[in-house]
C-alpha cells in the first residue's frame, strides 16, 4: 500500500495552524479558532487534526463524552428500569477547502468511528452521536450518514443521528480482514 498522505494526531498548537484553516463554513472556522483551546484544557473535548506532508493542517474532528438519558430520569431511575446510556459525541468534523472532494472527510469520519470503538473498549459507549450541519447540503449529508447506518436518535428531531458501536465494530473488523 502506498504511504498515506496525511498524519493524524491530537491537536498541538505548535504543529497545527488554525489561522490558515478554512473549510468554507464560517461557523465551523470560527469554532476552531475561538472555542477549542479552553474546552481541551478543561477536558471537555479532544481535537484530532490531520496534516499533510508539509505540516499544513487539512482537516480535523472533535470528540466528547455524551450520555443519553430518559426524561424525568430521577423518578424513573427510582423504579430501576432505565439507566443513562453512555455515548460519544462527534462535536465537529471539517476539511480544508484545498483538500475537499478527495475522500479526506470520509477518512476522518472513519477515524472518528474507529477511535470511538477503541474508546468504547476502554470505558463503555454504546453509540457515536452527531448533529448534521444545517446548511444547504443538509439533506445530502443526512443521506450520506444514513447510508453508513446512522439513524435519528429521536424521529421528532432527525438532525441528531447515531451509529451503534456494535454496528461500527462489526464493519470495522470485517474491513480489516
Amino acid at each position: 500500500m502506498a504511504e498515506q498522505p496525511y498524519t493524524i494526531r491530537p491537536f498541538d498548537k505548535a504543529l497545527h495552524d488554525r489561522g490558515a484553516f478554512s473549510c468554507g463554513v464560517a461557523a465551523m472556522d470560527r469554532w476552531l479558532k475561538h472555542s477549542v483551546t479552553d474546552k481541551i484544557a478543561n477536558n471537555r473535548i479532544r481535537l484530532w487534526c490531520a496534516a499533510d506532508n508539509d505540516g499544513k493542517m487539512v482537516g480535523f474532528y472533535a470528540l466528547a463524552a455524551h450520555s443519553v438519558q430518559v426524561a424525568h430520569a430521577g423518578q424513573i431511575a427510582q423504579r430501576g428500569d432505565r439507566h443513562a446510556i453512555p455515548a460519544i459525541y462527534l462535536v465537529a468534523l471539517a476539511v480544508d477547502r484545498t483538500c475537499q472532494r478527495a475522500g479526506l472527510g470520509s477518512a476522518l469520519l472513519g477515524d472518528a468511528i474507529a477511535r470511538s470503538i477503541a474508546i468504547s473498549e476502554q470505558l463503555g459507549a454504546a453509540a457515536l452521536i452527531l448533529d448534521v450541519l444545517q446548511d444547504e447540503t443538509r439533506e445530502k449529508r443526512m443521506a450520506f450518514y444514513a447510508r453508513l447506518g446512522f439513524r435519528a436518535v429521536d424521529p421528532g428531531a432527525p438532525d441528531r443521528m447515531y451509529l451503534s458501536i456494535k454496528a461500527a465494530k462489526l464493519n470495522y473488523l470485517s474491513s480489516a480482514v
Binding site: 455524551h66 450520555s67 443519553v68 468511528i113 441528531r160
Partner: protein
C-alpha cells in the same frame, strides 16, 4: 405579568464586562418590547437569554434527553449490530488509505 427569571442573578460577580452590540432596528424593538413585558431592563433581558442559550448549547454536546418510548427504542437499537454495511466498510478502507497515526 409574565414572569421570566434572570438566569444570571445567582452569579455573585460584579458586572464588569461591557459589550457593545449593533442590532437591526426591528430586532432591537422586539427585544425591548419583550424586556418591557416582563419588567426587565434590556441589558438584563439579553444577558439572561444569551446566558441560558449558552448553557443549553454546552449541555447538548454532552447530553441527549429522550421521552421514555424513544429512549427504549434507542436502547434496543444500540444493542443490535445489524448487517454488514458496504458503505461503512469502505469508509474504514478510505481511512487506512489516507491517514496514518502521528
Amino acid at each position: 405579568m409574565i414572569h421570566i427569571a434572570d438566569h444570571t442573578s445567582q452569579i455573585a460577580e460584579t458586572k464588569s464586562q461591557r459589550k457593545e452590540l449593533k442590532l437591526k432596528p426591528s430586532v432591537a424593538a422586539e427585544i425591548q418590547a419583550g424586556a418591557d413585558a416582563v419588567g426587565m431592563d434590556m441589558s438584563t433581558f439579553m444577558a439572561s437569554a444569551a446566558y441560558r442559550m449558552a448553557l443549553d448549547v454546552s449541555a447538548q454536546q454532552h447530553l441527549t434527553t429522550l421521552q421514555p418510548d424513544q429512549f427504549d427504542a434507542f436502547a434496543k437499537a444500540v444493542d443490535y449490530a445489524g448487517q454488514k454495511n458496504q458503505a461503512l466498510t469502505a469508509l474504514f478502507e478510505k481511512r487506512r488509505a489516507l491517514l496514518k497515526d502521528g
